[in-house]
C-alpha cells in the first residue's frame, strides 16, 4: 500500500534532492566510509526526519543463518540412540558437548550460548518450521522472509509489512541491514530500510577474497518489491542514504567501539549495532546475516567455526547490552531457512532438511528450552516434522514485543507463545 501522502512527499523529496545534488557545497557522504571518515564529515542535509521511536522503544535484532543450519548438531539430542545411529561420523559423543539437561546439549563450540543459557538470558525453541516444507534455499528463505504459507508467493517481507503498518512516516533508518544487501524481509510497499556495510568492504590492496567458509550459499536476499517507478526508487534511496548518513556518522563519531567483541565479521557488525543503539539511532529492526551453513560435505570443521562465531558474537552483544543498560530494550532472534536431514550423507555432510531450533535472547524473554523436540524416528521423507510454526514465533514477537497487531502484519491470526514474558 502506498501512503496517501507519498506523491507529495516524493515531489518534495525531488526538489530537495535537486537542491542537494546540484548545490555547490553538496557532499554525498558515504555510509561505506563511515568508520574512516566520520571525523571529517561534511553534510548540509537539514534533519527533516524525526525520531518516532523514543529512547525506550523496543528493538528487534534478526540474525539469519544462511544456507540451512544443521539443527541436530546445534541443539543435540544426545540421549537419543537414533541420533548416534544416523550420524555415525558427525554425531557428538556425550562427553564433548555442553549439556543442558538429560536429553539435550549445545554444540561444543557454542560456549557463548551455553553461558547465556546458564545465566537465564537465552530461550531455545525446538523444531521450528512450517507445513509442507520446501527444500530449496531460495524458496524456503522467501517463505521465512515473507512469512507466507508454503503454497503462496508473497512479495513483501514480514518486517516490511511491519514498517508499512506500524512505522508510517519514520526515518528510513527504522530498519537497518548490516550488509550490502537489503533482505527480502524488509521489502515493503513503501520502501524502508537502509544498508550499512562498515566491515570487510574497504579497499584491500592485496585483493583478497572474503571467505564464507567454502559454501555455495552466503547471504540470501530477494528482489526489492515496491510499486514506485525505478527512477523514484533511485531518488528515494539516494535521499535516504544522505539523511541517515548524517545521523549515523554523528553517532559513530561520538560512540567508542566497545571492547569484548571477537574479531570476526559478525561480531564486528554486532559491535556496530551496539554503538548505534547506545547513540540512540531510532531503529526498530536491525538485520544481519551469517552465511556458510550449506554444509553438504566435510561439515565438521566448517560447522564448528560457524557455531563458535555465532555463540561468541551473540554472547558479546548481550553482555554489551547489559553493560549499556539496554538489554531490556532488545530482543534478538536467529533463524535459518531449514535444518538438515537427520541422516548424514556419505560425504561427511548433510543435505537439505526441514525444522530446526531458534534462539531468542533479550530482556523480555522467558528463558529455557521451549516447545516439543521433533521425533527422530517419526519422519517425513527422512526429515523432521516441525513442532512449532515460525509464524507463531513472529506473531509473539510482533504482538508482545513490538506491540503491534500481528494479524495485520502476518495477514492472518497466529497464536502467540509464552517465550516472551507477559
Amino acid at each position: 500500500m502506498m501512503q496517501p501522502d507519498s506523491e507529495f512527499s516524493l515531489q518534495s523529496r525531488r526538489q530537495f534532492l535537486s537542491r542537494l545534488g546540484l548545490g555547490a557545497a553538496a557532499t554525498w557522504t558515504l555510509p561505506l566510509f563511515l568508520d574512516r571518515t566520520f571525523g571529517a564529515l561534511e553534510n548540509d542535509a537539514p534533519s527533516v526526519t524525526q525520531a518516532l521511536t523514543g529512547k525506550d522503544s523496543p528493538i528487534l535484532v534478526v540474525l539469519q543463518l544462511a544456507g540451512g543450519n544443521d539443527g541436530l548438531n546445534t541443539l543435540i539430542p544426545y540421549s537419543d540412540d537414533t541420533y548416534h545411529r544416523l550420524r555415525p561420523t558427525l554425531g557428538f559423543a556425550a562427553d564433548k558437548i555442553h549439556k543442558l539437561d538429560d536429553h539435550f546439549a549445545f554444540h561444543p563450540a557454542l560456549t557463548g550460548l551455553k553461558s547465556l543459557h546458564d545465566d537465564g538470558l537465552l530461550t531455545t525453541i525446538h523444531g521450528v518450521g512450517y507445513p509442507n516444507p520446501n527444500r530449496s534455499h531460495f524458496r524456503s528463505t522467501e517463505i521465512w522472509q515473507t512469512a507466507s504459507a508454503a503454497n503462496v508467493t508473497e512479495k513483501h517481507g514480514w518486517l516490511g509489512r511491519y514498517f508499512d503498518n506500524a512505522c508510517k512516516g519514520c526515518d528510513a533508518s527504522v530498519g537497518v541491514s548490516l550488509s550490502s544487501d537489503m533482505p527480502q524481509a524488509f521489502a515493503a510497499a513503501s520502501p524502508t530500510g537502509i544498508c550499512l556495510a562498515t566491515n570487510n568492504r574497504r579497499l584491500n590492496e592485496k585483493g583478497e577474497e572474503e571467505d564464507t567458509g567454502g559454501s555455495s550459499i552466503d547471504m540470501l536476499s530477494g528482489a526489492t518489491a515496491s510499486k514506485i517507478s525505478p527512477l523514484d526508487y533511485l531518488k528515494r534511496t539516494s535521499l535516504d542514504g544522505r539523511m541517515s548518513n548524517k545521523r549515523i556518522s554523528e553517532i559513530l563519531g561520538k560512540t567508542p567501539t566497545p571492547s569484548g567483541f571477537p574479531n570476526n565479521a559478525l561480531a564486528q557488525q554486532f559491535s556496530t549495532i551496539s554503538r548505534l543503539i547506545a547513540g540512540g539511532l531510532p531503529t526498530r529492526v536491525y538485520y544481519l546475516s551469517l552465511g556458510g551453513f550449506d554444509t553438504h560435505n566435510n561439515q565438521q570443521a566448517t560447522h564448528e567455526r560457524l557455531m563458535d562465531t555465532l555463540g561468541s558474537s551473540i554472547n558479546a552483544f548481550v553482555r554489551e547490552m547489559q553493560r549499556q543498560g539496554n538489554y531490556q530494550r532488545v530482543m534478538l532472534l536467529t533463524f535459518s531457512e531449514f535444518g538438515r536431514r537427520v541422516a548424514e550423507n556419505g560425504n561427511g555432510g548433510t543435505d537439505h532438511g526441514t525444522a530446526a531450533p531458534m534462539f531468542i535472547t533479550g530482556g523480555a524473554i522467558a528463558p529455557g528450552i521451549h516447545g516439543k523436540a521433533p521425533s527422530l524416528t517419526d519422519l517425513d521423507a527422512g526429515d523432521l516434522k516441525y513442532t512449532t510454526d515460525f509464524r507463531n514465533i513472529y506473531a509473539t514477537v510482533l504482538d508482545k514485543w513490538l506491540k503491534t497487531d500481528s494479524s495485520k502484519v502476518l495477514q492472518g491470526k497466529f497464536a502467540t507463545q509464552d517465550f516472551v514474558k507477559a
Binding site: R14, L22, S136, S180, D181, G207, E209, N297, G349
Partner: protein, 467 residues
C-alpha cells in the same frame, strides 16, 4: 513469432537502447554509425559467433599442469608451502582476471558476446570463494563464451562436466551409495526448469545419475570415474532406465517448462522484468523449433517491437558491471586499474567470479540500496576528480572528446549534449534548468575543471543509474 519492430522506429534512441542492452553502450559516434548501418546489421554484429579468446597468462591451464608436475616431486611440507603460496597468489590472479574480462567487454566487437557471457555467469552462478582456483573460473568463463549464442542443451551438458561447477555444487564428493543432491537440485531449480516442475524424488534419482563426476586436483581436468557411478535403474520424470547424467539432461529438455524458463530469464535480463506470457511463449516456441539453439531466440528478441517499447527503454537499473563498462564507453576513458575496479565491483555488489550464491545476482532494484548507491557515486566522483587519487584509476578523462567548442560556449547545448551522451531517460525540466544554471555560474568558454565538475554532477543523477 513476436511482432517485429517497425523500420520507421529505428533511430538514435532505439540504436542506443540496442547497443546498451545487448552490449555495454557506446559513444555517440558509434551510435550514429549503427543508425546508418541499420537494425539488422547492428543485431548481426552483436550476435556474431564469438572469436576464440586466448587464455591470459595468469589463468592458463599450462600453468596448472606445470604446477601439478612440480607437486608430484615435492615432499609433503614443500607441497603444503607451495599450495599456501599458490592460494596467496591466486588473489592477485583473480584481480587481473576481473580486469581482463572487463577489458573484453569494452571492445566494441566483443560487447555482444561478453554481455551474453555475463548473463550466463549470473545464470550458472559459480563462486571462486568455494572453487578457490581462478584458472578454473576462467575455464568456465570460456565455456560460456563458446556457447554464448549456441546450443543450450550442449551448454548444460558441458557445465555438468565443468571443473569449477563440479567443485562448486559438490559433484566432486558424489558417488554411488553416497549421492550428493546439491547439483541435481540446482540443475532443475535454477538452471533449466524452475521450482515446481520436478519432485524431490526426481532430485534424488538424478543425483544418482550424476555420480562419478570428478575434477583432477590442481590441473582442473574433468574425469568420469566409472567405479564411482551409480549405474542402477532410476525413475526420473516418470521414465525408468539406467540413466546417465546426459540422459537426465535430455529428459529435462523434453519438459515443456524448460524452454519457457530460460526464455523468460533471457528476456528479464535483456528487456524487462515479468514479461507478458505471450512473449515468453513465442520465444519458447522459437527455441524448441530451433532445437535449443540460442541465437534465434536472441535474434527474435532484439528484433521485436516489445524490446523497443516504453516498458523496455530506460527502465532498467544498470548492473554494477554495466554501470562501470558503459560509463567508460560513454566517457571514452580507460577502464580503472584492476585494484579500483575490484573495489568498486565489491562495493556496488557485483564482484565478478564471486556471486553471492548459486542463484546469482537478483538484479534491478536489488542492486540499489543506500550502501551500493554510495559506492556508485564514489566511483563516478573519482572518475571526474582532478585530485591525486585520480591517478589510482588511470589516465584523466579525455574531456576534449566529450564536448565541442560550441558546447563549452553555450550552457544549454552543453547540458543537452552531455545528456544525449550519458542518459537513457530524458531529464525533467527542473533538473535540466538546475544544471544549466549551474553551468551559467562559470565563465565561458568553460574550463576543463568546470566541465568535469558538471559531468560529475550528471553522473550523480539518479537518472544516470537507468539504462
Amino acid at each position: 513469432m513476436l511482432p517485429q519492430a517497425e523500420k520507421s522506429g529505428w533511430n538514435y534512441a532505439s540504436a542506443a537502447h540496442l547497443l546498451n542492452r545487448a552490449g555495454f553502450g557506446a559513444p555517440p559516434r558509434e551510435i550514429e554509425a549503427a543508425v546508418k548501418a541499420g537494425r539488422a546489421a547492428t543485431i548481426a554484429r552483436l550476435l556474431k559467433a564469438p572469436a576464440p579468446v586466448a587464455d591470459p597468462s595468469f589463468a592458463s591451464t599450462e600453468k596448472l599442469n606445470a604446477a601439478r608436475g612440480e607437486l608430484a616431486l615435492m615432499s609433503p611440507d614443500e607441497r603444503r608451502a607451495f599450495i599456501k603460496e599458490t592460494i596467496k597468489k591466486s588473489g592477485e590472479d583473480l584481480r587481473m582476471l576481473r580486469g581482463f574480462w572487463i577489458d573484453r567487454m569494452l571492445q566494441p566487437e566483443a560487447a555482444g558476446v561478453e554481455k551474453a557471457v555475463l548473463f550466463w555467469h549470473g545464470h550458472f552462478a559459480t563462486s571462486v570463494v568455494k572453487v578457490k582456483n581462478p584458472t578454473l573460473m576462467w575455464k568456465q568463463n570460456q565455456l560460456f563464451r563458446k556457447y554464448a549464442f549456441g546450443d543450450f542443451r550442449d551448454m548444460v551438458k558441458a557445465i555438468s562436466c565443468d571443473p569449477a561447477m563440479v567443485l562448486w555444487l559438490d559433484l566432486q564428493q558424489s558417488r554411488s551409495g553416497a549421492p550428493n543432491e546439491n547439483f541435481a537440485r540446482e540443475l532443475m531449480e535454477l538452471f533449466t526448469l524452475g521450482i515446481g516442475n520436478y519432485t524431490e524424488d526426481d532430485i534424488k534419482a538424478s543425483a544418482r545419475a550424476f555420480t562419478g563426476y570428478r575434477t583432477q586436483g590442481l590441473s582442473g581436468t574433468f574425469d568420469y570415474v566409472e567405479q564411482r557411478h551409480d549405474d542402477s535403474e532410476k525413475v526420473f520424470m516418470g521414465k525408468r532406465g539406467q540413466f546417465s547424467g546426459d540422459d537426465i539432461i535430455d529428459l529435462i529438455f523434453a519438459q515443456p517448462a524448460c524452454a519457457e524458463f530460460i526464455c523468460r530469464k533471457i528476456w528479464t535480463f535483456y528487456a524487462y522484468e515479468e514479461p507478458e506470457p505471450v512473449i515468453v511463449k513465442a520465444l519458447a516456441d522459437t527455441f524448441r523449433k530451433a532445437k535449443f539453439q540460442l541465437r534465434p531466440v536472441f535474434d527474435e528478441m532484439l528484433n521485436s517491437r516489445a524490446f523497443y517499447s516504453a516498458e523496455a527503454m530506460g527502465t532498467q537499473i544498470k548492473s554494477p558491471v554495466q554501470f562501470i563498462v558503459q560509463g567508460c564507453r560513454e566517457l571514452e576513458c580507460d577502464p580503472p586499474a584492476p585494484v579500483v575496479l575490484q573495489q568498486t565491483l565489491r562495493g556496488t555488489g557485483q564482484l565478478l567470479f564471486a556471486p553471492p550464491n548459486v542463484k546469482g545476482w537478483d538484479g534491478n532494484r536489488a542492486w540499489i540500496n543506500t550502501a551500493t548507491l554510495a559506492d556508485r557515486v564514489e566511483f563516478t566522483d573519482t572518475l571526474v576528480s582532478t585530485s591525486a587519487k585520480r591517478r589510482l584509476i588511470g589516465n584523466p578523462l579525455p574531456v576534449e572528446k566529450l564536448v565541442t567548442d560550441e558546447m563549452i560556449n553555450n550552457s544549454a547545448l552543453l547540458i543537452d549534449g552531455l545528456a544525449t551522451r550519458l542518459l537513457s531517460v530524458s531529464l525533467d525540466q527542473a533538473t535540466r534548468a538546475d544544471l544549466i544554471a549551474e553551468a551559467e555560474t562559470h565563465d565561458k568558454p568553460l574550463s576543463r575543471s568546470a566541465t568535469l565538475s558538471l559531468i560529475g554532477k550528471m553522473l550523480r543523477l539518479p537518472e544516470y543509474q537507468l539504462v
